[in-house]
Structures are given as structure tokens and as C-alpha cells.
């Protein structure tokens, strides 16, 4: 497989579920040559999966104030960092993939604007719009990566 897309977050904290929701919708499109993972959080076990692909995209809702559009930005391995099973950090996971499994793919973070991280299920209109855009951009990304 050439590309890995990991959408992660907690679906019971409203817009925090945007990442896995985007992954779920992308998986439904069955893009060829792509592994799609929906996850509650990033785990050490994802490191081996990362080491086996050439490109990876992490998809997550962002609490950053002022973020109004879906933003794709590169992620580098965070050398020397520890791994806390409670903290989802793409940089640390990439470092683990490199150190333990010999390869860290070229990687990006797709950050989705979010408005509501309260307790409950379902996305806000902001997050729903972000997920729709994210899925379209991911589909294009995966097609271009063939």
C-alpha cells in the first residue's frame, strides 16, 4: 500500500469525531492503494503500519482559535520524544516508526476547523463542512499519489 490515512478523535466529544468521520467516508469510497484507519487515538501499534507506506495523512479536528479552513501541513518525526498512550502526537508516532521499524513516511497533518468539543455525538455545521471538504481533498490526494 502506498498511502495511509488515519482519522482520529473521540466521536463522543462532538467535533472531535470529525477525524474518524472523515476517514470513514473516505473508506467508503475505497480509494485504491490506500489504507484508511479510524482511531480513537494514535497508538504505538500504528507505528508499524506507518513504516510500511510511502505517504501518510493524519486527520484531526483542531481546537485552534481562528482556524477557518481545512489546512494541510507537513509533519516531521519528533526526534527524542517519549510516547504517552494518552497523547495523540503524529510527530512522536513518526519518530517511533523510524526508530523501531526503520522507516517514517512523508507525512502531513490535515487539520479540520471545529466549533464544539462538548459531550455528545454529532458534528457541528462547521465540522460537517470541514469533513466534506477534507474527504474531497483526501480523495484528490490519494488519486495524485498513485
Amino acid at each position: 500500500m502506498r498511502t495511509l490515512v488515519i482519522g482520529y478523535g473521540n466521536p463522543l466529544r462532538r467535533d472531535d469525531g470529525a477525524g474518524p468521520e472523515a476517514a470513514r467516508r473516505l473508506a467508503g469510497m475505497q480509494p485504491p492503494g490506500v489504507v484508511v484507519v479510524e482511531a480513537h487515538q494514535l497508538l504505538p501499534e500504528h507505528a508499524e503500519l506507518l513504516s510500511r507506506v510511502r505517504r501518510a495523512v493524519f486527520v484531526d479536528a483542531s481546537a485552534e482559535e481562528g482556524l477557518e479552513e481545512v489546512r494541510l501541513q507537513p509533519v516531521e518525526p519528533a526526534a527524542g520524544a517519549g510516547l504517552d498512550p494518552h497523547v495523540s502526537d503524529p510527530g512522536r508516532l513518526l519518530a517511533l516508526a523510524a526508530e523501531l521499524f526503520g522507516n517514517a513516511p512523508e507525512a502531513w497533518m490535515l487539520r479540520l476547523p471545529a466549533a464544539d468539543f462538548g459531550i455528545g455525538e454529532g458534528l457541528s455545521p462547521t465540522a460537517e463542512a470541514a469533513v466534506r471538504e477534507a474527504v474531497a481533498r483526501l480523495a484528490d490526494f490519494c488519486a495524485a499519489a498513485k
Binding site: E38, H40, G82, L83, L96, E99
Partner: protein, 476 residues
Amino acid sequence: MSNRIVIDPVTRIEGHAKISIFLDDGGKVNDAQFHVVEFRGFEKFCEGRMLWEMPAITARTCGICPVSHLLASAKAGDEILAVSVPPAADKLRRLMNKGQMIQSHALSFFHLSAPDFLIGWDAPVEKRNIVGIIRENPELARAGIRLRQFGQEIIELLGGKKIHPAWAVPGGVRCGLTQEGRKQIVAKLPEAFETARTALDLFKGLVEKSREEVDKLASFESLFMGLVAADGAWENHGGKLRFSDSKGNIVADQIDARDYRDYIGEAVQSSSYLKSPYYKPQGFPDGMYRVGPLARLNVCDFMGTPQADAELREYRAKWGGRAVKSCYLYHYARLIEILACLERTQRLMDDAGMFSEDLRADAGINKHRGVGVSEAPRGTLFHDYTVDGNGVIQSVNMIIATGQNNLAMNRSVLEIARNYIDGNEIPEGVLNRVEHGIRNFDPCLSCSTHAVGRMPMQVRLIGPDGAVLDEARRDG
């Protein structure tokens, strides 16, 4: 004058806690307490919910052991429906519990505890973590990650996802294991066995040279409790409760889960959100008992699978027979349990009865109270529900594994502090040994206080006049 030493937060455990150590006027350890600083409130906010929602709700108690809550909750529901779950559903639930135990024990051993005994107690904290393991022994680190992954994949193959699978329900389970899923499990079993054996051999070698840790981290008398089968075999999902003592004597046996209140009391303490269960016939606090791997291996007569039984015989021969008392040997017991779970998983893969499509018994509300008990990785877990005629939850009582170890964790901290602290000088390695006293139990503190909340964290040594003598901060 009395001084207090505080370790806050305790690192490399699941959840948030702090430890207070009280010195007397002579600088000797006088007392120690383990405080849990999270409040959850599950028992209260579940009132008014429907019985059928409870497995999914209570699974959210914890992201590390949701399966344990799922299974105990479903069993409480089984009681209320007054059904016997179909045999295939029982086997599938057992398989999921095996996956849970494998992944949780692997996390505890490789990620949370191994940095101490593989990197070294006195190594700098920035090296004494999973990254240190990766650098010291990358093959072991890889194997540990894969073993945990194997356990999680079993959970995912059954429940559809690794964390909070909505799968076990009152009366049975939602779906079975596919033949493709079976092939995946069978294909990965050999590597899992190899990792378990490697870890066992490693720890057995280490512990022979670690007599100091065995004695000082910490060894004391207590009762032990766990589930056993009717023939006394190690159990982790069915069976009945057994208590044994520090001489290896059985003090109470074949107790039905619904009668737990006759044997287990719960004391509330002001210094912690964690209740303290105790063995009622001996009162509080004399009725302190331990649960979890050490206790399960003490109370059972045998493991029931050949490799695990061979390991159990060796373990008992060297470390105390049917009353192994050292908390440090929780790690050893955990590894034997991983082996037992792998053997039983292999057995289930060859059991044609696993693949029946009869997975659920349907019924309405036939009783107004149900108690479900299952062995979580950390120990025995109870869900006790009462409902009205429509299945609306009226009350909930949950007794969590880690809570049952509360008194023992306090005792462990006290013993370790007494063994290593003398005066006001506290080297990093000693603080780490005190923390490790808690890690032995692999506590799950998110479960055991059934709140989302974080408190400011710092360590202070305070003199009798209130002056701060020393201050340190530990990051989580």
C-alpha cells in the same frame, strides 16, 4: 514534628494519582497514602438510563479496559433477563476477555513497568521510559508493541473496534467471529507465544537477581480474591469467587457473585476518591485483600493449560507456593496469565462451537437486580444493577479491581517508603521505587473512581510550621 513528602503525579500508570509520605520527628517514615484525584460519578449518572444502554455507557469508564466493563455489564443484564447466554456467545465473550487481558498485560509489562527493571531504577527519568526500551532492546520493544496489537486485534475482530466496542449485550453478543477473523488470529498466535516466552524468560532471569526488589517492593500478608471454576481452575470470566489467605488456605469459596455484599464491604476515605473494599468477616482495615494476577494465581488450584501450568508450578515452587506475597511478582503473574490467555485462545480457535449463529437469548425484565462479575486484567470487576419493571436503572454499584487493591497499594507504598527513605534525602531512584510500588498493581484509576479533571501537580516537602522545605515537579 512531622514532615510530608508528596509524589504528584505518579507517572507511567493509567490515570492520575499522588502519594503522600509522612515522616515523624526523627525523619522516619510514619505513614503513607495513595490518593486518587479523579472523580467520575458513573454510579450516579447511570440512574434513569435503560438496562440495554449500560454496556455501552460503562465501557466508557475506561479507554484501557472497556471490554471488562462491557462484559461485566452484559452479565448483570443476563441476570436481570434471567437468561443463559447461548454457548457460542459465552465462548466469544471469553475470547474477547482473553484479547483484553493480553493487550492490557502487554501494555503494563512492556510500556509501563519494564523501563524500571530493564533500564534501571536509578537511571535518569528521561531514559527510563519506552523510548529507553526501544534504544536498549528494540526487538523487545517491537515484540511488546505487536503483542499488545494482537490482543487489540482480537477485540476489533469481534467488536468492530479496539476501544469501546459496542458488542456484548444482555443475553449474548451482537455478532460472531468470521472465518477470516479466525485465520488472522491463528496466523499471529505463533509470534504472540514467542513474545510471551521471551518476556517470561527475561523476567525470570531478572527476578533471580532482584531478591531485593522482591522483598522490598513490597512483601506483606493479605487475603487474596479471584474467580475460580467449579474444579478450582483459573477463571477470568465465569466461575465463582474464592478468598484465600497468606498461608495458602481457602477462607471462603464458591461464592456466587450476587452474594458479594455478604463478603465485601466498602469503606469511604476522606483523602481519596477511591473507595476501599475489604473482606467483611475480618472488618476494616484488617480485611485487606488483593485482586489481579498475583491473587488469581494464588487462589486457583491450577491454570488449566499445559504451558501456563508448567510455569505456575515453577513460580509457586520458587516464590511462595499458593501464597506468593511479593507485589513485585505481579509482573511475573501477569506474564503467566498472558501465556494462559494465548493457550485458551488457541483452544477456542479449534472449537467448532465458537461459530454457531445462535448468539443471543431474548427476554424481557424478569428480575429487578443483577450482578455481573468478570476478571478485568487488574482484578475482579463487579457491576450490580437494580432496575424497575421497564428496565430503567434505579441504582448502580460498581466495585472496581483497582479499588479492591486500594488498601494494599497504601500498604505497599508504606512498606517501600520504610525500606528506602531515611530522613529528608530522597534520591530519584527511591521516588521511582515508591511509584513502582503502585505500578506493580497496574492500577486503572480512570475506572476506579467511576471525573474528568486535572489538578495542578507539584511535589512539596512541608515542615511542621508550614514552611516549604523542598519542592519538585514531575511531569506526567
